[in-house]
């Protein structure tokens, strides 16, 4: 069985992004970029399934400009076998991304598609669900445990109330949550080997998808600043402030 993993290049999670002075967007000039942490977890899960003998090949795909090949190489170094980049010059909307991924899936016929639950830039949490819909396949989002048994997939999901376990027929789409696994580090020899692994570039036209952008970014503002607070010297002072100044406790 083949596993397809969708990965995205995003701002490094340690960077605190700033809004541009003109409010047109956030400032990404000279900001450190990385593989979206949830995508890293998705790649790791695919590699583990291959190590368990449940998968034969891991294909990673990213939709973006040439720069995202860096993240595809990272995924190859972590253990993916080959990569596909779908070339887009501007940023298409979420539905277009899902359509492009669906076309890649149609061509490659994976038994399982893994995505992150959320990209940490847009904080959208929607691509996997949309892809599953377009592929007309079942979905298990926010996965913290994945098990394959023949044609059956069992997934435990992190839901607001606790944990939920679902049984799905493959092919299926799974999105990863933080506790699914702890990604390994790529070793130097694997980083070297990744440079020689195949990376194919396709255009949206090759895939027969028209790029659209139905969501226009009007402006971006910094969040409301919190006014500077005070340090209290003791628990007694804290309780007094909460009772008599902030009036938030009785």
């Amino acid at each position: 069985m083949k596993i397809l993993v969708a990965v995205k290049r995003v701002i490094d999670y340690n960077v605190k992004v700033r809004v541009k002075a003109d409010g047109s967007d956030v400032d990404l000039a000279n900001v450190k970029m990385a593989l979206n942490p949830f995508c890293e977890i998705a790649v790791e899960e695919a590699v583990r399934l291959k190590e368990q003998g449940k998968a034969s090949e891991i294909v990673v795909v990213s939709i973006g400009q040439k720069t995202c090949e860096e993240q595809l190489r990272t995924a190859l170094a972590l253990g993916a076998d080959r990569a596909i980049r779908v070339e887009v010059d501007s940023t298409p909307d979420a539905l277009t991304i899902a359509r492009l991924l669906a076309k890649v899936a149609e061509e490659d016929q994976p038994g399982l598609v893994l995505l992150g639950k959320q990209s940490i830039d847009s904080d959208n949490n929607q691509t996997g669900q949309m892809l599953a819909a377009l592929m007309k396949r079942p979905q298990a989002t926010f996965a913290s445990e994945v098990q394959i048994d023949g044609d059956t997939l069992t997934v435990t999901r992190e839901v607001d109330g606790g944990l939920q376990t679902l049984t799905l027929s493959l092919p299926a789409v799974v999105t990863t949550d933080l506790r699914l696994n702890e990604p390994r580090y790529a070793s130097l020899p694997n980083i070297m080997k990744a440079k020689k692994k195949p990376l194919e570039v396709k255009s949206a036209a090759d895939l027969g998808v028209t790029l659209t952008n139905k969501i226009k970014l009007i402006s971006v503002a910094p969040p409301a600043e919190r006014s500077a607070g005070i340090k209290v010297g003791s628990v007694a002072e804290l309780v007094d402030k909460l009772r008599n100044e902030a009036k938030v406790i009785a």
Binding site: M130, I215, I218, P222, G229, V235
Partner: protein, 309 residues
Amino acid sequence: MSILVLAEHDNQQLKPVTLNVLAAAQQLGGDITLLVAGHQCASVVEQAAKISGVKQVLVADAPTYAHHLAENVSDLLVDLAEPFTHILAASTTTGKNILPRAAALLGVNPLTDVSGVESSHRFKRAIYAGNAIATVEIDEPKVVMTVRGTAFDPVAAEGGSAEITSVSAVFENADIRFSHEALAESDRPELTAASIVVSGGRGLGNGENFELLYQVADKLGAAVGASRAAVDAGYVPNDMQVGQTGKMVAPELYIAVGISGAIQHLAGMKDSKVIVAINKDEEAPIFQVADYGLVADLFEAVPELQNSL
């Protein structure tokens, strides 16, 4: 405008976040229909029909909807979508699981976690872990979106008398089945709806020490939350995680204990009205957002706090 809101519930109780989503729907204006999809959920329907401002309650009561599986509920939404200009749900794990799937089936882009309604097609939402607030305009014939509950004051739970209509369509996807669940049981208020939240981080050191926080929480009638580090370390279950990739909370009072204040944690709680931080490291970034900061060892400060409440 005509708005369909997907009710959040557990087949017994309507979840309070539904009232917040209805508030967002009211800001859009127009007739509001509330969909209750579930199984043996008559008590939810009863509560739904009483909510102020709801014109109609649609009821889809069938075993296939018992666990709100995205496959079945999104097919149902698509079936019902025709007359509606907007389809809304809460930005919970249920809403976020279902709505994007429904949107793709309808051939439109969804919007996630909307925190402000500017007009029928213009909305605000947080991006980059809440470090930026984007205003976006969506050019779609139907607007399908999830709503951040804490960004809208709830509508009144009583005072309405909606017409109740049952929906006969039953969708059952053969490729997915609910197996089992392990839901956290607690007598404390729900995290996202509580007016006071006490959260613990890695500083607590282990799961047993969370008992200190439970005692404070019980005196205050508070919910208990946690940082990702505390959840990852197994001190507490995943449903307690507050943050960018956990739950968003905005209580009247948030008490962060032994939490450093990483941006991903701040994203989930910095809209709280009053923030208290207890941390032994005076350089901890949590103090930059705290109204009241106490530099202290939590193992001394928290028992003392509990005794003085």
